[in-house]
């Protein structure tokens, strides 16, 4: 039996009933008295010089309350990483993508706001647009920024071990490449926010965000306000997956409008604007050479990559590092070299999305492992088992696997998918593929250089201890963090789950870096646990004052406070409680002291019982440039076996079955762990098989809607057999670590490997939509070989990268 009463169970989510009844309020459900509505003027061209903006006609339209431009916003730059702050609230002098914000208007109703936008006069001198990676890197290409010569926003060159020496030790060497397409996170709830200012200049922003803390800091910085005068509150959020993890131009513009008009202002994105804001998955071109021994031992990885970042840096500096660093594990790989550039183009900016940076690199690497296994006549699971790391090992780029159930995941997947038997019994057009992956469980460092706590939290008892209120700025975005925190507090205080109320997502409550890099369970979990233990200590000490003995003698369970050693006489405590609560009906009874009585006593003796807790990781990782990205106190890992059927006529790839195992260290809530695994499958399947943000040659998104941008429906996603592996992470609360992002890592390569198994074709370009698959099958039938558009692109980019590297080593 579990040592825990609530943890490791299938407790119902604390927010589920309100969501099921329509009570839950998301940003667009909120209203404030006297509220205005915002609309944005956004650039109609992808690249241009902004000469003149005249808002006079808009300002005089009846019903318009305020107009803000760069004159109001100023030119303070912001972004995600301070080293790459390159955005302003409104375009200044130049527009760099179709959709870039130029002016914001607030009016009495949305229709008037839109009409006012249409009355703004402006001159944009159109410039030639850069819409793809080879153009961005070509000589004489139009330049997006002065500060990014050659349109390169970031370049990484890392070398661990000695790849050149390792080449001579490898028996066999394999090279391949993979190109994906820009992906949209396609959360169901479009971004939106409401800003309001009080008489003293205190600004409150309610916003659909994953990171209230970063939004608060960005507002204070860009608008030049004291941090304490900015409060950011996150209502319930309808999904984030990464793109809601940084401050947006919309948020800043709406704050400016509220400051200027003195009235509350609401701004809500349309679905098209969600696509234009983007910040979703980058397009990556990965090129890898892997060397192995004849027995399958991995010897080296030489890796080159190019990322299409869109117009601004956003998370891009982290993305480019993650795309290299996350190949350090989960296999022993003594030598690894990585050279990558991230270019800017005149398209919406890309950022962080589930499996940040690592997903496509992982897909190519796992696809190469599949090819190596075939060439060595090894079972692909055997090849992986031969190379997997064990708990305690450190990768060549200094990531420590403090726990790692990778082997267990693979073995479970092999057993539960009937791997061996099925591989031999597949019929025509069917395939079975396997892959692994791992991901950070919370970024080891904040986005801005700081010694800050990553999380602080407070647990406060009601005056009679019938409720424990958790206060944290952590962000419930649908992943279930509020429930995880409530379960932790209920466990520590020994009280029922419905006696805990979580108030989260408010910068007035605490500092918490928010919901990104799969950090809430491990990091906020620690902070909240510490706060609950602090509450227990205060109650114990108060109780010990009255009944004697050391405070440590009390145990908190089943709603009771019970001394471990011998009985206590608590009749006075109970008598006082009953006297105070004449007329109440829920009196404590029984032969043990209840938590309520103990908490009441503590309140009487000490006032409000408030426990506090903090967490920040110990110093992690190496000291080389970029070492911070990829560090984490823990790593979750995953394996999946996926069956597919490929229709030779239509090229349709259908997933028939999925067996997935994830090592989450310890499952705080088993249902929620499975939910993350199944949701990851959906997003990976979408990216592998149909999702692609498409542009025309003017830089317009041509499928900026959920009809033409196809995300998986209930008919596309097969059932998964979810297997929870628990490796007891030493750095996690109760041994817990992430599941939100690690679980997506194997999906794309497992599908690719299954499609190879079914067709004999290794696709070097995604998505595997019917058109691409059908063309490849046709080429294979007619020519015996398949070429992809990515082949030429890859040759070209790799040559450019090699030239850059040579030039740099000369310098």
């Amino acid at each position: 039996m579990s040592q825990y009463r609530i943890l490791n169970s299938r407790a119902k989510r604390v927010d589920a009933a309100d969501k099921a009844t329509g009570r839950t309020q998301y940003i667009n459900d909120l209203k404030r008295p006297g509220m205005l509505y915002a609309a944005l003027l956004q650039s109609p061209v992808a690249h241009g010089r902004l000469h003149r903006v005249d808002t006079a006609r808009a300002e005089t339209l009846p019903g318009v309350a305020g107009v803000v431009t760069d004159d109001d916003a100023g030119d303070i730059k912001f972004g995600v990483s301070p080293a790459r702050y390159d955005e302003t609230v409104f375009a200044i002098d130049k527009v760099r993508y179709l959709g870039e914000e130029i002016v914001a208007v607030a009016a009495e109703d949305p229709e008037t706001a839109f009409e006012a936008v249409s009355l703004i006069d402006y001159d944009i001198e159109e410039l030639p647009a850069v819409l793809d990676m080879p153009t961005a890197l070509s000589e004489g290409a139009p330049q997006l920024f002065d500060q990014y010569p050659g349109n390169v926003t970031a370049e990484v060159l890392q070398h661990f071990g000695d790849v050149e020496a390792a080449r001579t030790q490898a028996d066999r060497v394999y090279t391949d490449h993979l190109l994906n397409k820009m992906q949209d996170a396609a959360f169901l709830e479009p971004q939106g926010c409401i800003a309001e200012v009080d008489h003293h200049g205190n600004l409150t922003l309610w916003t659909s965000t994953q990171t209230p803390h970063y939004v608060q800091r960005t507002i204070a910085m860009v608008l030049g306000m004291p941090l304490g005068k900015v409060r950011v509150v996150k209502p319930m959020v309808g999904g984030g997956f990464g793109p809601k993890a940084s401050a947006s131009n919309l948020e800043l513009a709406v704050c400016l409008l509220a400051l200027k008009t003195g009235r509350p202002v609401k701004g809500i994105f349309s679905r098209e604007q969600v696509f234009l804001r983007s910040r979703g998955r980058h397009q990556f071109l990965h090129h890898m050479t892997v060397g192995v021994k004849d027995d399958g031992t991995l010897v080296f990885l030489d890796h080159q990559a190019c990322l299409d970042g869109g117009a601004y840096s956003s998370f891009g500096i982290a993305t480019i590092y993650y795309a290299g660093s996350l190949l350090g594990g989960p296999y022993r790989l003594p030598n690894m070299r990585y050279h990558a550039v991230r270019v800017c183009t005149n398209k919406p900016a890309c950022g962080a999305q589930r499996g940040h940076g690592g997903v496509i690199a992982r897909a190519l690497f796992e696809s190469l492992l599949d090819r190596i296994a075939e060439d060595l006549a090894m079972d692909p699971i055997e090849l992986r088992l031969k190379n997997v790391m064990s708990a305690g090992e450190t990768t060549c780029n200094e990531l420590n696997m403090s726990s790692l159930g990778m082997r267990e995941c693979l073995e479970e997947v092999r057993a539960r998918s009937n791997w061996r038997r099925r591989r031999d019994q597949l019929s025509e057009g069917q395939g079975l593929g396997v892959a692994c992956g791992f991901f950070v469980s919370g970024a080891g460092y904040p986005i801005y250089r700081s010694r800050t706590w990553h999380c602080t939290a407070v647990v406060q008892l009601s005056e009679v201890g019938d409720t424990a209120i958790v206060r944290s700025a952590s962000a419930e975005i649908g992943q279930g963090s509020d429930t995880v925190l409530a379960m932790i507090v209920a466990e520590e205080l020994g009280i029922p789950l419905d006696h805990v109320r979580v108030q989260s997502g408010d910068t007035d409550y605490s500092v918490d870096l928010g919901a990104y890099s799969s950090r809430q369970t491990l990091m906020t979990g620690h902070a909240v646990r510490n706060a609950a233990i602090d509450v227990r200590r205060q109650v114990s000490e108060a109780l010990a004052e009255i009944v004697g003995g050391p405070p440590e003698r009390f145990e908190f369970r089943k709603g009771l406070v019970i001394p471990r050693d011998r009985g206590i006489d608590f009749s006075v405590i109970r008598r006082h409680f009953l006297q105070e609560h004449r007329g109440f009906t829920d009196h404590p009874t029984g032969q043990h002291l209840t938590f309520r009585e103990a908490a009441r006593l503590a309140f009487i003796l000490r006032g409000s019982i408030i426990g506090k807790g903090e967490y920040k990781p110990f110093r992690l990782g190496g000291r080389y440039k970029g070492a911070a990205v990829g560090t984490s106190p823990a790593y979750g890992c995953s394996a999946q076996a996926i069956g597919v059927r490929v229709d030779a006529e239509t090229g349709q790839v259908t997933l028939t079955d999925v067996t997935g195992a994830h090592d989450c260290g310890f499952a705080i809530n088993r249902t929620q762990v499975e939910g993350q695994m199944q949701g990851s499958l959906l997003m990976g399947l979408g990216e592998a098989c149909f999702e692609e943000v498409k542009f025309d040659d003017l830089g317009r998104v041509v499928n900026a809607n959920l009809a033409e941008y196809k995300i998986p429906t209930a008919l596309d996603v097969p059932n998964m057999t979810p297997i929870i592996v628990e490796s007891d992470e030493p750095n996690g609360p109760y041994g817990a670590k992430e599941v939100g992002e690690g679980a997506i890592m194997p999906t794309i390569p497992a599908i690719m490997n299954a499609v190879y198994d079914a067709t004999g074709i290794r696709f070097r370009e995604l998505p595997l939509n019917p058109e691409r698959v059908r063309m490849a099958l046709k080429a294979q039938r007619e020519h015996g070989a398949v070429s992809f558009a990515s082949d030429e692109l890859c040759k070209h980019i790799v040559a450019l990268l090699s030239a850059r590297r040579d030039q740099q080593s000369e310098e």
């Binding site: 989510r13 329509g22 309020q25 667009n28 459900d29 169901l188 319930m236 999904g239």
Partner: protein, 149 residues
Amino acid sequence: MNGREYEVAVSPKRTLAEFLRDDLGLTGVKLGCGEGECGACTVLLDGRPVTSCIVLALEAQGHEVLTVEGLADGSELHSLQRAFVKQGAIQCGFCTPGMILSAKALLDRNPDPSEDEIRQALAGNLCRCTGYQKIVEAVKLATSERGQE
């Protein structure tokens, strides 16, 4: 409207979703796309699921409309709501009201649907969080509970 008759004046341009949300305060009707693609604004019109963002409010005149707010009986959750909560079929919750209403329309006309029929009935309701598996399980659970009642 959720069992109650309303006499209202409404602009001919107003969509049913705007009317329900802004005029009646039924914010369980969610807006995810405004183009009838995501299904978050699903309500039942005479028992049939419609995406209320592309239905005019006027089209509802004289018809029965059911939103998620009209589903529970006081504090007693509807069997589908109970099943969604129990099965872990809810994550961000933005698709949930529409999803539950599409499922109700299915169970009202087919009390014992196969998994394929459930998936067909929910195919117009997008969810980005759950992978649908626990949603399908919840509908099955509600089906069996209904059978017992």
